[in-house]
């Protein structure tokens, strides 16, 4: 299959610009700046069908076309490298091993957007990745691929890395912008959208690392070629971060449309469940998307094979489906306690709620408290429905999607594993880990 992001990922010198260029790197900058207008680049990205790889899956070309061209303010491109969704580690992998792919994508994308300054917002824990990126950026300046008058075309671009401070919420684009302005990461009310009023109240596009790193291939080969990969509206390739109880955890680039069964059991990917155990459940798109039991993970409710696409994973809605999200694929074997796992994620979201909206601030605390009763004793059967009720009272009632992200794992765990919650009530606590 075609590998767009990871073809040379095992080459130990890929992070050096000479090696990257020897393998064909930075051709898209030359092609875009010398032979295409910015609008033509946007058009190719639209044709590609590329959708945001951070989790939301919004069409990238359309997002770019919203940028306010009437504004006399400078425009900004910001790369969202605040990877923090539990189960997701693909952007770290890509930046660490293939930093120039991101930088090349940012130059070409900044040109398309008319931005002359761009930032890569990297979570603060990853300073060692920032150092790799900064060395690569210095190399690109030295080659005339960044700075003034890039490749003699008159186009100028400066690119900088910005560290976060340890806050999951800053992966939300308006919180990220606040943080980049040196403030608390409280999400903003939308509208206005960042494309109109983003960084420093200027038109801004925020894109995920993987999204931007796909742009060079699209510019080099054309949007139509990219759209030929994948299935339906899920075009191209996707990086999947595989973790949990599997034989081969790691990052895999797949063509959209691969079956979930092949992904879990093939030796080219996860290599099956570790220690000869059975699959119990999986979360395919990072901790915030609904958990599915084995049967619904491998097949939809109507009996079709479940595929790794936006559409197939969400088939059946939240009753029997889930989401592709960030591609953080967390696998659980038969020994896993779903209640304990749900409690763990509830604690995570309580810790990461910014506290701005009451339903999320209060609701995430209550979810954690009640789940503790299930796990450690003291829960009643009524508490099962109380969890569902609290989830419903958070979902859709907050400024940003963190509320939904906190509610969905709990609601889906109760939906598919209610018997386990009831068993915890009968046993007055967890009996999985004795």
């Amino acid at each position: 299959m075609v590998k767009i992001l990871t073809e040379h990922i095992n080459n130990p010198n890929l992070h050096k610009i000479d090696e990257y260029q020897r393998l064909g790197g930075y051709k898209s900058v030359e092609k875009a700046l010398k032979t295409l207008t910015p609008d033509e680049v946007v058009e190719e990205v639209k044709k590609s069908g590329l959708r945001g790889r951070g989790g939301a899956g919004f069409p990238t070309g359309m997002k770019w076309s919203f940028i306010d061209k009437k504004s006399s303010n400078p425009r900004y491109l910001v790369c969202n490298a605040d990877e923090g969704e539990p189960g997701t580690f693909k952007d770290r992998y890509l930046m660490q091993h293939n930093p120039h792919a991101l930088i090349e994508g940012m130059i070409t994308s900044s040109y398309a957007l008319g931005a002359n300054t761009a930032y890569i917002y990297v979570r603060g824990e990853l300073y060692y990745v920032i150092r790799i990126l900064e060395r690569a950026i210095d190399e690109a300046y030295a080659k005339g691929l960044l700075g003034k008058n890039i490749l003699g075309t008159g186009y100028n671009l400066d690119l900088y890395c910005q560290p976060g401070g340890g806050a999951y919420i800053c992966g939300e684009e308006t919180a990220l912008i606040e943080s980049l302005e040196g403030k608390r990461g409280n999400p903003r009310l939308k509208p206005p959208f960042p494309a109109v009023s983003g960084l420093y109240s200027c038109p801004t596009v925020v894109n995920n690392v993987e999204t931007l790193a796909a742009i060079p291939w699209i510019v080099n080969n054309g949007g139509d070629e990219y759209a030929k990969l994948g299935v339906g509206r899920s075009t191209g390739t996707k990086l999947i971060s595989a973790s949990g109880h599997i034989n081969r955890p790691g990052v895999y680039e797949i063509e959209m449309g691969l079956s979930v069964e092949e992904f879990i059991y093939s030796d080219s990917y996860c290599g099956g469940i570790a220690n000869g155990k059975e699959l119990k459940a999986a979360i395919p798109g990072g901790s915030s998307v609904p958990i599915l039991p084995k049967e619904l993970m491998l097949r939809t409710a109507t009996g079709d094979a479940r595929l790794m696409t936006y559409e197939s994973l969400s088939e059946g809605g939240f009753e029997t489906g889930t989401m592709l999200g960030s591609g953080g694929f967390i696998v659980m074997d038969e020994t896993t306690c779903i209640v304990r796992n749900t409690l763990n994620f509830a604690r995570f979201y309580r810790h990461e709620s910014c506290g701005q909206c009451s339903p999320c601030r209060e609701g995430t605390s209550w979810l954690e408290k009640i789940l503790r009763r299930f796990e450690h004793g003291g829960a009643t059967l009524k508490d099962v429905d109380l969890l569902v009720s609290i989830s419903k009272n958070i979902e859709g009632k907050t400024i940003c999607p963190l509320g939904d992200a906190a509610a969905w794992p709990v609601a889906s765990a109760v939906r598919h594993f209610r018997h386990e919650f009831e068993e915890h009530v009968r046993n007055n606590g967890c009996t999985f880990h004795q």
Binding site: G87, I130, D158, G166, Y168, A242, F348
Partner: protein, 175 residues
């Protein structure tokens, strides 16, 4: 830094601060706050005293409260003194599935403290932290700016032996 004296960066660090401020448009230097807080924390003993935060405010020409509200929001900034070596073990979902709880227990036994505490000799602080984006090599910990992946009790023992002999501080300027 002596805790009684007014915190002050070295001339080299002040040069670095000026360089970082250049990354942002004129009048938007407040954007430098997060990176400068990381530097201040590393250089002033691993935590941010109110004097250290006031000093950072003065460097950026902003109000002390604007620094406090940021420092209290982000979990990487320590607002109380910590040990010479801060051990941050990820305890979120995928790491928990792969035994992060046992790793934390092992550290607790070896260090004689509970998670969240500092050893009485001030050498170690043990923290449980949320997802470090390294779930494929779980369980994982971060010490200073280094990641330690695929942890086992034996690796923890080896780390502690090494740390006890060289006494390296985890408070390192990230730049």
């Amino acid at each position: 830094m002596n805790s009684n004296s007014q915190p002050q960066f070295s001339p080299e660090t002040l040069e670095l601060v000026e360089k970082i401020k250049q990354r942002y448009p004129k009048g938007k230097e407040r954007s430098a706050l997060l990176p400068i807080l990381h530097i201040a924390q590393a250089e002033f003993g691993g935590w941010l005293s109110s004097e250290a935060m006031d000093y950072v405010a003065s460097l950026l020409g902003i109000l002390p409260i604007e620094v406090y509200e940021v420092a209290t929001f982000y979990s990487m900034y320590n607002l109380e003194p910590v040990g010479n070596c801060v051990i941050e073990v990820c305890h979120t979902g995928p790491c928990q599935l792969k035994g992060a709880g046992d790793i934390i227990k092992h550290f607790e036994q070896r260090l004689g403290i509970k998670v969240g505490e500092t050893t009485p000799d001030g050498k170690f602080t043990l923290k449980g932290v949320e997802c470090l984006a390294a779930c494929g090599t779980a369980p994982v910990m971060k010490v200073g700016w280094d990641y330690h992946e695929n942890l086992t009790p034996d690796k923890v023992d080896a780390f502690l032996e090494n740390q006890k002999s060289d006494g390296k501080s985890s408070h390192v300027n990230p730049y």
